[in-house]
């Protein structure tokens, strides 16, 4: 089985969010970048599927050279080789078009990625890739098992789960609890250094949106502390001040 896992290179969840250049650029100062947490789940499941039934895992990232340490980490976790499309990921359509271009001749049985990136939270790339390639796309996927040429999955729906079956190939946007995150071991880290990481140039220049400006939410007012012996005061504040009950 040939699996393509698409990963994002995103600021660590705990990063302080700030912008520069007149609020048009993300401030990377002091920020640590990681594999998108949802993509990490997709990669972990790919590694498990490969352990069960063989095959290969290619990781793909659309991004500049600064993504390479993140890609190497994915190789250390268990991918066999990697492709970096050498371009700034501007919007979901651009990224999807580049992923589809790589995937179209690759003969992949499965294309896995996270349900969304944690920077833009778009949740759109998997669907766009599926539509461009003319194959099914399913998201957000919580469990994934392969039996022959059929995949059995469950997908999160509001307040529940939907179970579905589909023949390969297809695209899945993954989330927990699809697999346990894998932590690279020493052998993985050593071998990742020599695994192939191919850099290809972007194929098109598709986009549907243009960023104007970033914005921070208004600063939060101070918390009002209420004495534990006086919960009645909280009730009256919720009623009369916040007007939520």
């Amino acid at each position: 089985m040939k699996i393509l896992v698409c990963i994002t290179h995103v600021p660590d969840t705990t990063s302080r969010i700030a912008f520069t250049d007149g609020d048009t650029k993300f401030d990377t100062n002091g920020v640590q970048f990681i594999i998108g947490p949802y993509d990490d789940y997709a990669l972990a499941r790919a590694v498990e599927l490969k352990e069960q039934s063989g095959g290969s895992i290619t990781v793909l990232n659309v991004g500049g050279a600064e993504s390479e340490p993140t890609i190497r980490k994915a190789l250390a976790i268990g991918a066999d080789d990697a492709i970096r499309v050498n371009a700034e990921p501007t919007d979901s359509l651009f990224v999807a078009a580049e992923i589809a271009n790589v995937a179209k001749d690759g003969g992949y049985d499965l294309i896995l990625m996270g349900r969304e990136s944690i920077d833009f939270n778009g949740g759109m790339v998997h669907g766009m890739v599926g539509e461009i390639l003319g194959i099914p796309s399913i998201s957000p996927v919580m469990t994934l098992d392969i039996e022959g040429d059929t995949a059995k999955m469950s997908r999160e729906i509001e307040g529940g789960k939907e179970y579905l079956e589909v023949k390969m190939p297809f695209v899945a946007g993954c989330q927990e609890p699809i697999a346990e995150w894998k932590i690279p071991n020493m052998r993985g880290i050593m071998s990742a250094r020599t695994k192939p990481l191919n850099v290809v140039e972007p194929s098109s220049n598709q986009s549907g949106t243009k960023l104007e400006k970033y914005e921070m939410p208004p600063a939060k007012g101070a918390v009002k502390m209420i004495d534990a012996d006086n919960v009645g005061e909280l009730v009256s504040l919720l009623k009369n001040e916040a007007k939520v009950i």
Binding site: N121, G123, G127, P136, P140, I157, E162, K210, A228, V235
Partner: protein, 319 residues
């Protein structure tokens, strides 16, 4: 003036609140609002009532085949409806069905697509919308550059208000190709009767501070008194104290209710990422240094086992 199509979802025979928000958002944009609805579980009169929120016409795909939300088939039919109606804008709720469907529609009709939209567009120059990014920690203002636009609206970003009368309901003949049904939905498991967490106006969440699943009775009692949904932190669902679909945060459900009450939750940044667009946050924690207090509007330093039952009693008394 735009012609706007709104995709509405229903559950248990009723149009979902998030979809009503989408209809109201579309009405707020000005222009003519047409709705498309799928399945035979929702009644014609319920659909006609969408007129109250600003829809003038409802296209009803009244066909059992479309009762289940098959992503590809829905995308084909919506793209077809946009074409037939001459709609240049599609509005829908950001949801587990709306997102994957809208992504495919965007490619089919060559539209600009933006999700997690939080405000009405600014069309004074171009077509600019504000969207939430970094899990609610910031916003991006983006210009949609293609002729057709698709907007997926963040939950609770648009107010549901009545503005009009009733809408005409017309059957819409769906003709998705057979290939679209290659994903076979075998079973659906849904929590019924409960208030669904992702759409709730009020949420009560418990964390590891509650010590064990046997103590959730008081959380449920508080939630029941308020008419709230229940949530939890990630370790709580990891330890199976609560079902996975209650887990709130970065890697779980993102909520944006009017009121979020966090009990015995420390307020780790990954948890905050899922709740920071709540309108009001109440934190109950015995540790005055718990980081959650920094994100809260109201805080009580105290033992949950004492505070929560007292709060429930006070709420009952105030009813």
């Amino acid at each position: 003036m735009s012609s706007i199509l709104v995709f509405v979802e229903s559950a248990e025979g009723a149009v979902k609140k998030t979809s009503l928000e989408a209809v109201c958002y579309a009405k707020g944009m000005g222009g003519d609002v047409t709705v498309i609805a799928f399945g035979n579980e929702v009644s014609e009169s319920e659909l006609s009532d969408l007129g109250k929120y600003g829809a003038s016409k409802v296209l009803h795909v009244n066909d059992e085949k479309y009762n289940k939300g098959v992503i590809q088939a829905y995308a084909s039919v919506i793209a077809d409806a946009m074409e037939k109606e001459g709609a240049d804008v599609l509005v829908l709720a950001n949801s587990s069905l709306g997102n994957p469907v809208s992504a495919r529609v965007a490619v089919k009709v060559d539209a600009s697509l933006v999700s997690n939209v939080t405000e009405l567009p600014d069309t004074s120059a171009g077509f600019k919308v504000k969207r939430s990014i970094y899990t609610g920690k910031a916003f991006a203002n983006v210009d949609l550059t293609k002729d057709k636009k698709i907007l997926a609206i963040k939950k609770n970003a648009a107010e549901v208000k009545e503005v009009g009368g009733s809408a005409t309901v017309e059957p819409f003949a769906a003709s998705a190709p057979d290939g679209d049904f290659s994903t076979n939905i075998t079973k659906t498991e849904k929590a019924t009767g409960e208030i669904l967490l992702p759409e709730a106006e009020l949420v009560v969440s418990g964390g590891r501070g509650l010590k064990g699943p046997e103590n959730w009775g008081m959380i449920e009692e508080l939630a029941k008194t308020l008419g709230a949904a229940t949530g939890c932190s990630k370790p709580v669902s990891d330890m199976d104290w609560r079902p996975h679909h209650e887990h709130v945060g970065q890697t779980g459900v993102k909520v944006s209710p009017q009121l979020y009450i966090a009990v015995g939750i420390s307020g780790a940044i990954q948890h905050l990422a899922g709740v920071n667009s709540s309108k009001n946050i109440v934190v109950i924690n015995k540790d005055p240094e718990a980081p959650f207090f920094k994100a809260a509007d109201y805080g009580i330093v105290g033992d949950a086992f004492e505070v929560v039952p007292k709060l429930t009693e006070a709420l009952k008394a105030a009813k």
